[in-house]
Symmetry: C2
Subunit: 126 residues, 2 copies
């Protein structure tokens, strides 16, 4: 039986703000968006051009408090060729990316940036 | 600047148990695995055959308590053609899949199954 990973889903407090963040930071576009008033939620699916994998954003009408992010889920990773250029661009956009890092004393290979709800996105050199 | 989603990362309590779950339930294989004793963690990357997107499992040596999953992160979704066959197979494997569901009175289109740490995986008909 053939399985493929097709999306990852996070709950967000402000759908438009999150959509704008992922569009601005990573060039993702909204591939599908559907409102389910009977369940009191809206689903927005975003993806990178040419890639089938989607980020699903769930907006629950009645959520009042910020979501508890816990310490289990870690991050979504996004690959880019020009890591330093991306870091500079994210700084210029005012997204406060964390410093460039490498593991075990190696050359810089990644950095993290927080989305509007505080979820970490790892930007990785590919 | 061109960005692609490349992996999603969760922290797990028992790496071999999680690897076995994702292998058995979804046919994912370990594409890379690396131990970082200096940081006291091991990273295991799993993927579906033929797909570049990976699930990163992080095992922290010193984690004593189960991770707090919170209510922000929702799930990873996995697509399969034969949804009913997959549901039966997951039942037979003793994975206790939740009932098949459709939204808004529609035909069954998905179900959820929990991984060993309690993270939800949505199995979606594609």
């Amino acid at each position: 039986m053939d399985y493929q990973m097709i999306h990852t889903c996070i709950r967000v407090m402000d759908l438009e703000k999150s959509e704008k963040f992922y569009q601005q930071a990573f060039g993702f576009t909204i591939s599908r968006k559907k409102d389910f008033p009977e369940y009191k939620f809206t689903l927005s699916y975003m993806s990178a051009p040419g890639s089938p994998f989607e980020l699903e954003l769930t907006y629950n009408y009645d959520q009042q408090q910020p979501y508890e992010l816990g310490n289990g889920y870690s991050h979504l990773a996004v690959g880019v060729k020009d890591l330093e250029g991306s870091h500079t661009r994210h700084q210029e956009l005012g997204l406060n990316p964390k410093p460039l890092k490498g593991l075990a004393g190696g050359a810089p290979k990644f950095y993290f940036v927080e989305d509007p709800d505080g979820y970490l996105v790892e930007v990785v050199r590919v």
